[in-house]
């Protein structure tokens, strides 16, 4: 997927002016948040589980080489193949080669953010292979030729009415007067359309929520069951996953699963949790004949050794964006690439470079709500601040900000001069603003006064009044 993260400000402006998006976003503000809170409250050990989940991932990242090797050995022992891919390009090429060898014309796909990251659909289409998204949300945005706007709810930026209109246009085979106003109708219709596609597919591609080192398994969690049909019916199953998805064993899996769904949708568990461990064995009634894992790095090993390491604990639950007031204001597309919200603000500059995505970690008030709900306790605001530091060091911060900051810091580091100058300035501003109590406009403050008044200062600084009080003058 091509990034437009560099034009974040313009993207955000457009999003803010979109009334349909505003309506759609209002829904997530309440739904996800109340459900997560209720799920967390129902489980007394929820906070302790968050600690345990964090520790499991920290341990794994400390020994990532070891666990990856063990994972790959076990996949091979089960008859599968592991393709180590350093870049998105390598990963796309590996998928295409497998599809070609299988003579594939259509591939069905379960939901996968890595597939978005490596822009797999466009690539397959350009090479004559038709990808069919089978997750309802992904299916909808594929119809619209749009990227996902949320990592677990890809079509959350759309209202029900908009989806109904898309379905009527895309499915002319059904009667015009059919009822489509309820979510249930939309699900049934998508199922009907997709059923034949499942059976016709030559290859099924899924993501993985987890890779299990001890058993060489991949694990997906879904609510629709589409992932299972994607990986069981076709004769070839390809898993696309990034390397930080590995965890040691199934016990660890059960611990992390207890925080994943609760954090994501407020469910105790997703409807389906599917563990697949390679191709069909002679005694199995069904399953794919071939099983491939595309193991993608794409910049992650670079993050492993540095200050952004903690972001590799992420399990893509979406809680951070569900609770982010900036995400609530602008939605996911404004972030300009695959990963929106606070996780995107940390991960995207790591994967694409801070030159491309530097605006993302700046577009935060550091309100800390993301960190307070992240099941893996990733200190997202701290990591966003680190990106700002990298920008500042490399002189990527805009010049007016740099000079303004330098002038302010020069004064703030000289208290006597600072107090004297501030005293003068506030007397002037206070006198000017006294009659109204506020300014509708001030020079150099357009960013503030475009949307709000600037309250006038009281006129004297605390320090000057305090000095008078100390020397006996009236405060």
């Amino acid at each position: 997927m091509r990034s437009i993260a560099h034009s974040f400000k313009d993207n955000a402006k457009a999003a803010l002016a979109d009334p349909q998006l505003r309506r759609a976003l209002d829904n997530i503000k309440t739904g996800f948040i109340t459900k997560r809170a209720a799920a967390a409250a129902r489980l007394p050990e929820f906070e302790a589980l968050r600690d345990a989940a964090r520790d499991i991932k920290n341990h794994t990242l400390d020994h990532l080489d070891l666990y990856l090797e063990r994972y790959a050995e076990n996949v091979q022992a089960g008859g599968g193949h592991v393709h180590w891919c350093a870049t998105a390009e390598d990963a796309r090429a590996a998928v295409l080669e497998i599809c070609r060898r299988a003579g594939a014309k259509t591939v069905t796909k379960g939901k996968s953010m890595i597939s978005e990251e490596i822009a797999l659909n466009d690539y397959l289409e350009a090479n004559g292979i038709t990808p069919v998204e089978t997750d309802l949300g992904e299916y909808i945005i594929q119809l619209r030729h749009e990227p996902p706007s949320h990592i677990i709810a890809p079509a959350v930026h759309l209202t029900k009415d908009a989806i109904e209109a898309d379905f009527r246009k895309a499915h002319p085979q059904f009667p015009k007067d059919r009822p489509l106003s309820e979510p249930r109708h939309l699900v049934d219709e998508a199922r009907q359309v997709l059923r034949s596609r499942f059976l016709a597919a030559d290859v099924g591609i899924t993501g993985a929520n987890f890779l299990i080192a001890e058993t060489g398994s991949s694990v997906i969690v879904t609510n629709e069951g589409n992932g299972d049909l994607t990986q069981v019916i076709p004769k070839v199953h390809i898993v696309v996953a990034s390397l930080e998805k590995v965890i040691p064993n199934l016990y660890d899996l059960s611990t992390i699963l207890r925080v994943l769904a609760r954090s994501a949708t407020g469910q105790e568990f997703t409807t389906y949790t599917t563990v697949s461990s390679g191709p069909k064995r002679p005694e199995d009634p069904d399953g794919p004949e071939e099983y491939h894992v595309i193991l993608l790095d794409n910049g992650r090993s670079r993050m492993l050794g540095g200050e952004f390491r903690e972001v590799l604990r992420c399990i893509r639950c979406g809680a951070c964006m569900n609770h982010c007031p900036v995400y609530h204001a602008i939605g996911g597309h404004a972030y300009g690439w695959v990963y929106p919200g606070p996780i995107g603000a940390v991960l995207t500059p790591g994967l694409l470079g801070v030159e491309e995505a530097g605006a993302l970690p700046n577009a935060s008030t550091f309100c800390g709500r993301c960190e307070s709900v992240c099941p893996m306790r990733i200190p997202l605001p701290k990591l966003m601040r680190h990106w700002r530091e990298r920008e500042f060091e490399r002189h990527l911060t805009p010049a007016p900000v740099r000079y303004g900051l330098a002038a302010w810091a020069f004064l703030a580091r000289r208290p006597a001069l600072y107090h004297w100058l501030l005293g003068l300035e506030m007397r002037v501003l206070g006198a000017l603003g006294r009659r109204k109590g506020r300014f509708a406009w001030l020079p150099f403050a357009g960013g503030w006064t475009r949307h709000r008044d600037f309250p006038a200062p009281q006129g004297r600084t605390f320090q000057s009044l305090w000095a008078e009080r100390k020397t006996g003058g009236a405060p």
């Binding site: 577009a363 302010w408 810091a409 580091r413 949307h451 709000r452 008044d453 600037f454 309250p455 600084t461």
Partner: protein, 264 residues
């Protein structure tokens, strides 16, 4: 302590250095005097070191480590002799308490000094309740108020019940909670200027919740948030006045509210 008795603390007197905060110093000194009154009533000897300016957040949050470290050292030097450091701001107190130690962790000469000051630093209302054991005040305020939780105070310092507990003791005062009192108002320091349009959507949402609470006065413990919300209330003509919580707790509400014209 009876509900209506003037404040007296059974606790030993303490020397408190008031970290005024750059915004209170420049914009609203009356908040500083309200803080002094509350602290003195709670049995503290208050001093205001002249060598303080700003805690350094504008630099820190802009990625400028060198200047934020310099300001951290300046602040530490000014305050390390006190029993406690108190700020009428959750955000500045959190900067000193939570971030100075990390900022100076690799500086052997300063790391321990940063930790020493950090461990003694408190936001005003939580200092009064948690450290000085104040549970009720003698203040009176006729009116309905609503309280906005500043993000840093709430999530970094755990300030939530403390101001509400103190407000509950103010005679004549009714607290009407707004919806989502814990959601950011969109200030975020330089954020509100750099991402002015996003900030505007956030503060508009906030104002809507404030208006619907039915309160006539908005209170908060951070002047940054208050300037943002008051500026938006004024611009949109919502008839709610904004004040720092310390003004009400100290019964020092004679000055015009934030963004309000002088009375004469």
């Amino acid at each position: 302590m009876p509900q209506d008795s003037p404040l007296e603390s059974a606790y030993a007197p303490a020397r408190v250095g008031l970290f005024v905060t750059c915004l209170v110093d420049a914009m609203r000194p009356s908040v500083g005097f309200a803080a002094v009154k509350l602290l003195e009533d709670a049995g503290c000897a208050v001093e205001v070191p002249r060598a303080q300016t700003c805690c350094g957040q504008p630099a820190y949050n802009s990625g400028d480590r060198a200047d934020s470290q310099a300001l951290a050292r300046q602040t530490i030097e000014a305050f390390e002799g006190f029993d406690y450091v108190v700020a009428p701001s959750g955000s500045c107190a959190a900067m000193i308490r939570e971030h100075y130690p990390a900022l100076l962790a690799e500086d052997p000469a300063w790391s321990a000094r940063a930790q020493h000051v950090a461990a003694r630093t408190y936001e005003l209302t939580s200092f009064l309740t948690d450290v000085r054991g104040v549970s009720a005040l003698a203040a009176r305020f006729e009116g309905t108020v609503t309280y906005h939780d500043g993000c840093s105070g709430l999530r970094e310092l755990g300030v939530r019940e403390q101001p509400r507990q103190l407000l509950a003791s103010v005679r004549g005062l009714t607290l009407n909670e707004m919806r989502d009192s814990d959601v950011c108002c969109g200030f975020g320091g330089t954020f509100c200027v750099k991402f002015s349009d996003i900030s505007n959507t956030m503060v508009s949402d906030k104002i809507d919740g404030i208006a619907k609470s039915g309160a006539r006065t908005l209170l908060a413990g951070d002047l940054g948030c208050l300037l943002n919300m008051a500026g938006k209330l004024k611009r949109t003509g919502v008839p709610v006045e904004a004040r720092h919580v310390a003004e009400v707790l100290a019964e020092m509400t004679d000055d015009p509210a934030i963004g309000e014209a002088a009375k004469d």
